[in-house]
Every structure is written in C-alpha cells, then in structure tokens.
Subunit: 694 residues, 2 copies
C-alpha cells in the first residue's frame, strides 16, 4: 500500500501548498504506460500528450513567418517553448522581454515554456567545460521576471558516454541547483530535468529526488545524442528508469524529441510532452517531415499528406518557389504533420489502441523495431501502469506483442486463479484464425457432450470456453496460431501444457471444423456458474490469495450446492447473464453485473462489502471529511486520497474506505494506486455506489 508522506486535508501547511499551486496535471485516459491529460498552468491549459514548437526569438526578430500567434491560432498549438538564454544574450530583446513580458513580446496566448541554455552548453560547450556564461540562479530569476509559465533550471547535460562518477557528480550539482532555484521561482512553474546519462540507477534516483523536492514538471534530459544515433533501445531504458523515479503524477517531457517517429513509443512509456525545432530546421534543409521519416522535397513525386499546404500544390511546384517561400511552406507542412501525429497519439490512448500505433512505428526503422522488441524484457514496467481492461486488443506481430501486459496478466492469472470445472474430459481445440471469428464461444459450448469442457488454444494461451467473452481473449484480434513464429508457438504450447497439468481427467484434441453448428441451446449445465466463478477469480484475484468466488458467494463444496445460493439474471435480448445475485437466507443481494463490452464484472455495493470484509487489497483510503461525499456517490479526487493499494490499475474495481477502514463506496479506478497517492489533481475513483446512496 502506498501512503502519502504528509497527510493532506485541513492542515495549514497544506492549504498554503494548494493555494500556491500554479500548475495542475490531470490524467484522463490510460493505455499501456501512456495517458491523455490536461496540463493547466495558471489560467492556461494544454491537452497532453502535447508537442511544443521551439520558437527561435532571434529568427522571429528577423521576420520569420511562422509567428507564435500563427502557431496557436492557425495550427492549434497551445504550448510553445523558447530559449531564455538566447533572449538574455540579446540586450534589446532582453529589455523588451522584461518590459512587455514574454506573452506580449511573442504575441502568444498559450503556455510558454523556456529553456535555460543547458543544451547550448552541450552543443557549444564541448571540451569538458560544459557550461555557459550565465549564473544558474540568475537565469531562473530572469525567466521568472519575463513571465515564463514554465521555466527550466540550468542543469548539467550528461552525455550518454559520461562515466558513472562524473554522471553522479553532475546529478548532485543539478539537484542542488534545483533546490536553490525552487526558492527563486516565484509564481512560475519550474522544470527540473532528470539527468544521469546511461546509468539507469542514477536516472531513477534523479527522478525520485525531483519528485521528493516537490517539483511538478520534469524533462528527461541528455537524450538527444541517443536519438541522433538511433539508439532507441537504450533510450527506452533511460525513459523507464526516469519514469520509475518520477512516478505517474509528474508530467514528463522528453527533451529534444523532435522527430515524431519515436513519439508513439515514448508516449507508451509515459512521456507527456515533447518539443520540436525540427519543423523549422528540416524546412531550412528542404526536408519534409512525416511520422515515419523525412524526405528531401526534390525526391518526392506526390505529397503523402493532405494538409492545408500540401493540398494546394504538387512537390514540383513547391520546388520552383523562391527559397524563403519554399522554406516557409515546408515548415508549415512539418507543423501540420506534427499536429496530426499528436492527434493520432491522443486518439489512440482514448481508444485503447496505442499498442497498434507502437507496432506500426516499429516498421519505421530497424532500430525502432529493436527498441519495441526490447520492451519485452521491460514488460514489468508496462504491467505496473497499464489499464486492467481496454476495448480492443489487436496485434499483428507477436514477436513484438509478447510484451503486452494483457498476455502476461492473463497467463499468470490463469495459472494462479483458474478453477477447473467438474467435467468428464478436456477438449483442446486449436483457434484457427486468431481468436475472433472462427471459434465462437456459443458454438463451443454447445458442440460437445454434457461433460466435455472445451479449451481453445490461442496466441494468448489456453482459453477455457467460459472465458472466451472476457477481456483479454474476448477483445482480441490476433494472428492464427499456426502462423506464429516458432519460439512463440513453443511458448504457447508450454502454457497449454502447464495449464493441463493439474487436470486429472482425460484430454482430447479436436478440430474446430468438427464442431457442429446446431444445438446452440444445449450449453452444458453449470457453464454459466463456471463463468461467474472463474471470471470473478481472474478479475478480482490478481495480486491476492483470496478465494474470490467463495468470498463473494460463500463456501460451497460443489456446483449443485452453489446453484442454490446464486441467482443469475439474464438479458432478455441476448440470453446472456447480466446480473449476479447472492441468496443469503431470505435475502437476495445484487453483488455483480457483467459488462457486455469486456466480459468483466462491475462491483455492486453488496459485492464490495463481501470483498471488503475479507480484506481484499483493492482499496483506496480517503480523508474522513471528503469521505462523506464519496459515501453519497461523489467521485474521489486524488488530493484527498491518503493511501491506495499498489495493485490498483486504471479500470480496476475498487473499494473506497475511510481512515478507520470502513467501507464508504465502490467504484472504478481511473489511475493506478501509486498515482492516486502521489498525484493531487483529477479524479482517482469514479464512484458507482456509496453507502449513503448514489
């Protein structure tokens, strides 16, 4: 269980802290370790994941046509970044910035982030000097004085080839500057980057230190050299370590990820913000940006894009324009392209299809393919963050898909929680075309004799027929098992073997085609009960040793006894089970409802009470004052969460309890347990039923 280090609610210290809040980061939807959210700074807001165009103030002075005003009004960018070091170096700009403030100077009514010169120290510093001629605290004050929304400390840029000792001392210096800078930030939000080079323990420590310092925005820095040389697999490790330290509540900015090809993967790992100077730089070189790569305008036949710019002309016509006009149009296209990529990423998270986007991005370059495959060895991290259920689950290349949290959770849960039915034989059927389509569950239920228990072999593993509608098998579109790569097919076979091992009865293999179409109504008796038993065990039994079915339905020795204790209400339209009622003496209690969309249960208050009584760990403790509201059916907000089960993932059913441990409500988690505790903005639990009414 995660617990807040400082109790919130009521104390003077807290109110001060909350009143002083400048920014808030609220997560909305989650997929893999990625999320959509809203970052609010002062009165301004941006939807994340977001990309901020880099604006060069010197170019602007020279009349660069893509003004910040156009970036927002025409292209829809609500956040931008510029360089305070460059402004400060230019006396004229500097004094006007101090006089007018950054927003008026640049004519931008969105969030303005400023960088501090660290990257310049990397690019121009060289020779081990690695510093620019600016005082670390002065540049923070300067950023504050020109009215930056999010300033950045002058951190030490640690390159990937830096040895551990140097990386460590750089890190201490960065952190020390961080805490001194926090005192100077005033009303500005302050970004403190995570450095540490390729030393993963340092990256994680840096993240943790940043979080404990009370920083509310953190870039992951020093990664440009990795991106420039396509070292994406190492970059994955760097991001994962930084994120472990930072935790889910702090918006993470991948500094310098200008090319969009890595963005889907970075977002899947939990990066929320990106900056790009590439739209302008590439345009200067005559290069045309798309999600998958860049091309030279001169080698293009037609535009692979229908943005406002590309739909007006053909590549040849653009080539013939005067250089400056051509550069401006290319930059416009590049911005449209970046905008579309970010829209695609946000939409994918909302739909639960981020994996598909990551898989697609793997085809952009062998190094990206490698990086996605490398995730297979880092799958724990995805599991720590990924939602408990999604709407859709598609995978084309299982060499990559093997690290999907769904696979691992399902297999582990099946081994740990599944209860064999009381049947005469196990019939193993090979799923012929992925999971959906050929082998439907109804057909399976009906095609074998009363005592036959059908198990379908799928790329996810063995799927007993009563679980075919449950997430993940029920939501999957997967390759047919015969087309799997040898190594993965072996793995599946091992899972089937392991699954059958505890089964004492006979096992028979059967062909899916031999299943008859008729007798749909003759489902073996007890199958629905088995579904209740096993879905509840699989869904609620993750990370606990409780015998969930007995907790919910009471102790029973066999199915016939249980049958008397359970009432199943079926849908009139589909004939499928919808509600589960437990009979306790004369009383019927509605304990569970079965969702059609993912075959999971929603927990009713009566069911929650039973799980609560047994000490089920999916619980969120809220402070007593706001708990009153939750008991009346209002949602739980992060800032009032005192502790939460670490096992909780977005989408999990949870119990809401007061500090004394009494049940207040049941609901669905929106974010992980860790996030509920560390975060202070947004909804933690969507309450469904409270003890004092809905």
């Amino acid at each position: 269980v995660s617990t807040r280090r400082f109790l919130k609610g009521g104390s003077e210290e807290l109110s001060r802290e909350l009143d002083g809040r400048i920014s808030a980061f609220e997560v909305k939807d989650c997929d893999l370790a990625g999320r959509t959210g809203a970052l609010k700074v002062g009165s301004r807001e941006v939807m994340t994941p977001a990309l901020m165009p880099v604006v060069n103030p010197n170019l602007l002075e020279k009349g660069y046509p893509l003004t910040p005003f156009r970036l927002k009004e025409e292209f829809g960018f609500d956040i931008m970044i510029t360089n305070s070091y460059m402004i400060r170096k230019n006396p004229d700009l500097s004094s006007r910035a101090l006089e007018l403030g950054l927003h008026r100077l640049l004519d931008f009514d969105g969030i303005i982030m400023t960088d501090s010169g660290t990257f310049q120290s990397y690019v121009y510093g060289g020779g081990g000097k690695n510093e620019v001629d600016v005082d670390p605290l002065e540049i923070v004050e300067f950023q504050r004085n020109i009215g930056s929304d999010i300033g950045t400390i002058l951190d030490r840029f640690t390159t990937p080839d830096t040895d551990r000792q140097r990386a460590d001392s750089d890190l201490r210096e960065t952190m020390s500057r961080g805490s001194l800078s926090l005192e100077k930030k005033g009303q500005m939000e302050l970004a403190v980057p995570v450095q540490g080079g390729l030393h993963l323990d340092l990256r994680e420590e840096a993240g943790r230190l940043v979080r404990e310092m009370g920083v509310r925005y953190s870039p992951i820095g020093g990664v440009v050299p990795l991106m420039e040389s396509y070292r994406y697999a190492e970059l994955v490790d760097v991001i994962i370590s930084a994120k472990k330290g930072l935790g889910p509540s702090i918006p993470a900015h991948l500094f310098g990820a200008g090319h969009p090809m890595f963005i889907p993967l970075a977002v899947a790992l939990g990066c929320d913000l990106f900056d790009s100077a590439s739209y302008a730089k590439f345009a200067k070189d005559g290069r045309y940006l798309t999600m998958d790569r860049t091309r030279h305008l001169r080698e293009m036949e037609s535009f692979p894009c229908s943005c406002r710019t590309c739909s007006r002309m053909e590549p040849k016509e653009m080539l013939e324009l005067p250089p400056l006009e051509r550069e401006a149009l290319l930059a416009e296209h590049n911005l449209w392209s970046l905008r579309a990529v970010m829209g695609e990423v946000r939409s994918a998270i909302r739909e639960g299809t981020l994996w598909e986007l990551v898989e697609r991005s793997a085809s952009f370059h062998p190094s990206l393919y490698e990086a996605v495959r490398h995730l297979g060895d880092r799958a724990d991290f995805l599991e720590d963050n990924a939602p408990a259920t999604t709407r859709r689950f598609m995978c084309s290349d299982l060499n990559l898909g093997i690290c999907r949290p769904e696979f691992r959770r399902y297999r582990r849960s099946l081994c740990k929680n599944y209860r064999y039915p009381d049947a005469d034989e196990m019939v193993l059927v090979k799923g012929t075309s992925g999971l959906r389509g050929t082998v439907g569950s109804r057909k399976l239920h009906s095609s074998f004799g009363r005592g036959s228990w059908v198990v379908v072999t799928t790329p996810i593993g063995p799927v007993p027929s009563e679980l075919l509608d449950m997430y993940p098998p029920g939501q999957s579109v997967l390759p047919p098992i015969d087309s799997l790569p040898g190594e993965i097919r072996n793995e599946v076979e091992n899972h089937v073997k392991a699954f059958s091992e505890g089964w004492a009865g006979p096992v028979r293999s059967a062909d899916a085609d031999s299943l008859s179409d008729d007798a749909v109504e003759k489902a073996p008796s007890g199958l629905d009960l088995h579904r209740i038993i096993n879905v509840s065990r699989m869904q609620f039994g993750r990370e606990t040793d409780l015998e969930i079915d007995r907790v919910l339905l009471g102790e029973y020795s066999d199915l016939s006894l249980l049958k008397e204790r359970v009432v199943l209400r079926t849908s009139r339209r589909t004939g499928k089970v919808r509600n589960v009622l437990a009979v306790d003496g004369d009383k019927e209690e509605h304990i569970l409802s079965l969702r059609a969309e993912d075959g999971h249960f929603t927990l009713k208050l009566a069911g929650g009470a039973r799980l609560h009584h047994a000490g089920w760990p999916y619980r969120v403790t809220v402070d007593s004052e706001t708990g009153e509201y939750n008991a009346m059916g209002y949602n739980v907000f992060c800032r009032f969460v005192l502790s939460a089960g670490e096992c909780i993932r977005p989408g999990d059913e949870v119990l809401v309890v007061d500090p004394s441990g009494s049940l207040l409500a049941v609901g669905q988690a929106r974010i992980t347990g860790r996030h509920m505790v560390e975060g202070d903005s947004g909804v933690a639990v969507k309450v469904r039923e409270g003890i004092k009414g809905k």
Copy 2:
C-alpha cells in the same frame, strides 16, 4: 526472349491499330512489382497509381454536396467512376446523359469510367440468378453513347466460393461478351475484367485472354467478398495470377478496394487503379477513414490528421453538427485521406521505398501481416518484376522482408557468380548493427594483413568486403544479425556455410570491434581489381553462364596478368575507382563506369560491344527504321521494340540491336523485357551511347 506476335512498324494493319488508339499507359518508375505511370484517355490524363471516387448519380440528383466538380477542382481527383446501369435505370437521368454527355451531365472535366451493373447483379441478384435486367451489349452501347471514357462490359461476377466448373463457364461467358463488346465500343476505351474466383489457373488464363483480345484496361473483379472478410492472403494469390496473365503493359484496376489499408500491398503487386465508394458510405455511418483503419467519430479524442477539414475543428465539435453537415465533412476528410494515401504510394515508388510502406501496412491487421508473409512463398513474382537496383533498402522485420527480391537475387548471384580472391585466409566478421555504420568497408579493407580476405555476415547473407558498397548490401538499413528471428538466422548461417564451402583456404572468425582504425591506406593490393571482377560478374552475370569478367577484360590466368590489361581511374575527391579502361594492345577503351549511388557499373559502348560479341542476353531488338535514331543516341520507345531479353528488369544495363542483331547502342532499361514487348507506350530504354554518337 519475348517476341512480338505481330511485327509493328510499317504494316498497314499496325498504323490502323495505332491510329485507333484511344488510351495510352506509360510507366515511369518501378518498385517491387508496382509502378507509377500516366494513363491517358483521349486528351485527359491521370497519374497512377490512382484512386477514383465512386459517384452515385442518384445521390447527386438529390443535392449531394461532394460534386464531381469539387472532386477534381478541390480534392484533385483526375478520374472518377459512376454507374451506367443506375443512370440507365433512371429515365430522366438517362435521357439527359444521352443529350448532354456524361462530362457535362456530371460537370467533371477528368476521366470518367463507368461500371455496368455487374456488382449490382452480385449484391441484389443472389439466388444463383446472378444477372441484372440489362442486355450485355446494349449497356456497352449505352456507355459509349453517353460518352464514357472507359466503359465496362457486363461481366459475370464470380464469387470466391464458386466451384471450378461454374467459374470456368462464367469466365467463357465473360470473354465471349468481351469480344462482342469490343466491336461496339467505338471511341470509348473498354474495360474487360479478369474473373475466375479463387481458381488461380483461371485467373491467369482470364488475364491472358484479355490481353490477347487486345483489351487495354482490365479490372480484377470478384474480390470484394475477399476484402470484406480480411482474406488478404488469398487476394494476393488472385492478384498475382491475374497479373501474370495480363502482363505489365495493361493497367490493372482492383475493383472495389475501397479501404486503403490494402492499397500498398496491391500496388506492390502491380495494381494501378482503385475505386472507392467508402469515403461516402463510411461518412454516412459516422465513420472516419485513415490509411490503417476506420473509427467512429464518437470515440475520437483528437483528429490524427491535418487535412483542411480536420484542422478546422475537434471531433467533439464535428459530432455536434447537424447530421447532413457532419456527414459531408466526414466524407471530405475521407477523401483527403484517400488522396494522401495515393500520394504516399506514388512517392514511395519513386523513392524506391514501397517495401517500407508494405511492411508498415502489415501492422494494420493480423490478416495483412499474414498476407505480406505469404508473399514469401510468391517471391518469384516480385523478382520477375522488381528493378535491378534502388536507392534505399530498409527492412525492420525480416520475417516479412525475406521475400524481398534483393535478398534472393543477391544470394543466388553470390552463389553462382562470385569468384574467390587469391588470399591467405577468409576472415568472417559479424556485422553488428545492420549493415551500415559499424562495419564500414574502408575500415575492413585496411584492418587485416595483406593476405586476409574479409567477409561480413549480414542479414542479406555473407558480404565480401569488396562488395560492401554495391547494391543491395551498400544501400541497406537492416536489423543487427543477432536480433534476427531464429529461423532466419539459421538461414543466414546456411548461406555463409554454402558460400565458404568452395573456399579451400583457412577460415577465421573475428570480432568487428577488434578491427583497428588506422592504416586506412593499406588496402590489400588487388582489392580494387577484385571489386571490378566481382561487381561485373554479380551485376551482368544474372541469368547467363558467361564468365563476365573475362568477356569484358579478356582471358587472364592471374591477377598480376590482369593488372596489366586494366586501367582504373579513381576520383580525385574520394579516391574511389570511377572508370574502368581496358588495354588492348596500344588502345585504351573506356568500358565501364562505377556509379557512386549504388556501386553498380554503367556500361560504356566499348564494354557493351564486348558483351554483345559474347552473346550476352540483355538485348533489345528494335525495328530497323527507328533503330537509326537509337544509334544516334535517342531513347527506345516500347512501340518499336520487336523483342527483348526476358531477363531484363528496370534499371538493368542493356544492348540495343537491330533486327539483324547488330549493336546500335547501350542504355538502361526503364521497364522489364516482357513489358517492352507487350507495351506500346512510353520509354523502354534510356539510351546512353549510340554507335553514331550521343
């Protein structure tokens, strides 16, 4: 050698045929079996691959906002398709069409294709009747009379489940209607579809019959049921068989491929035209089209697109519009999306990156992944058509990439043509990060003693150091060998074993990291000569048993002897060999130049004369009259080609000869030998040097 069935050039019959020509199809660039081209019908022209929006004339009458005029002027579609059967069924429309002509009726100044009612017979016919109430010849005359640019015969729609006998009789009926219809077509171009269901021999025969009938436009029909049920692997077989029969010269239209997810693969197989009603149908259902899939507007968070429509609003705002307005905007986006997809495909062919696009499309759906993998068993077809060289060669997933023509050609050519150097030992070095980067050729040349011959193990196979700059190894970006799937790594190891088998000397394995950086200048003597020998053998020796190096440079017993006969001119800037001159007595003849971009030779006239003398089969026979011009350096056009080597692929160096077999010129093939003979439009050979001057 392919030979024209009827000699062209001079005969009365031919001039009549050429004068009567209505359409012309010229291929420009090739990649895999795909190509860009220009389809001209009368005075109108469209760039291919192209997609034609389906226009429903009845909806148009009711005020559908996406008028044909807008399709062309606003969205840039230069070709559309409408249904002549629907026009004819509507008495009012029909009479106006006859009076005004189709172009004025629809207000469309591009190419108009018309369909005939066949698809309606499939959709509404049912019950084995499979006919509509229209006379097959009458509907052709009707299309002619309303001024369609490309009419379509009323063919028999053969569904995938049709048995062979029925498919065969359907096919005969279609062909018989085809030849009768040709007589009625007048100035209209007439499309005769390839049917045959899933019977591949029938598909190929149908293609051949269509071609021999003199048809100049052919749709591949009866495939919608395959696409609707994601049976893409079978669709690949159908297209390949149809294309084998049709040959490369007839533009192929994949009928009803409305969703763009299959388009990259279809184009890679040689499909040139597509039609789509989906932009409008999907919009009616509230569905939003992207290359990879469709989504419901209501589940979208942000638009993954920056088209003129999507850049104006957010999904939520679009959802709130009145239904008709929303439908129109969705249809607009869908059209922009289709336009971008076609632009992407055309650009990819021009750049030689069509494979990358196919590989990306494999991630769109497990069935597409399966279909691309399935290509591995059909790789011969790709090899029959793919260019001899391209600019770039990237592959992320070798499970898919294994069918790339480059892999197969390289491995086969290495086995057949490579000549071992005279060295003390073979040093096997494992390429550590794909092919480029870590193991560069210069470094390799220099790092071992004089007698050591370095061979790099790569995913393509073993690459002797002197071939590291040659296409394909020199253009490749590939995964590191250690990351390859087990089966493919085994295959590579087998290739290395097979390659080393004929080598009698010792073999030593070495680590790439152990190669020293210095002594770049100490390349083993003779290495450049080995490069000349082996590049020429690999490049010119495909499909012939000639000892190419001896043909070009004369018989020699050892390298020191050869050295006296060859002068290598190196580039002053790079120090690399540029020109190869053969010394024959007092005479120095410039026979070859080495191209930097792909490490292949361009053939000079003197080199061509040597190959010609030896009977080298890469020759194109042109008619004697136009041959005069080729001898003066003018390009060879398809319509004057009498015969051409079947081994010729786009990009190959070729000899141009007159009907008596005398050499006229050397040049580079633009298309395959088969295409040169079957086609009658466009450039066949880009002549470099003619015997009568440039």
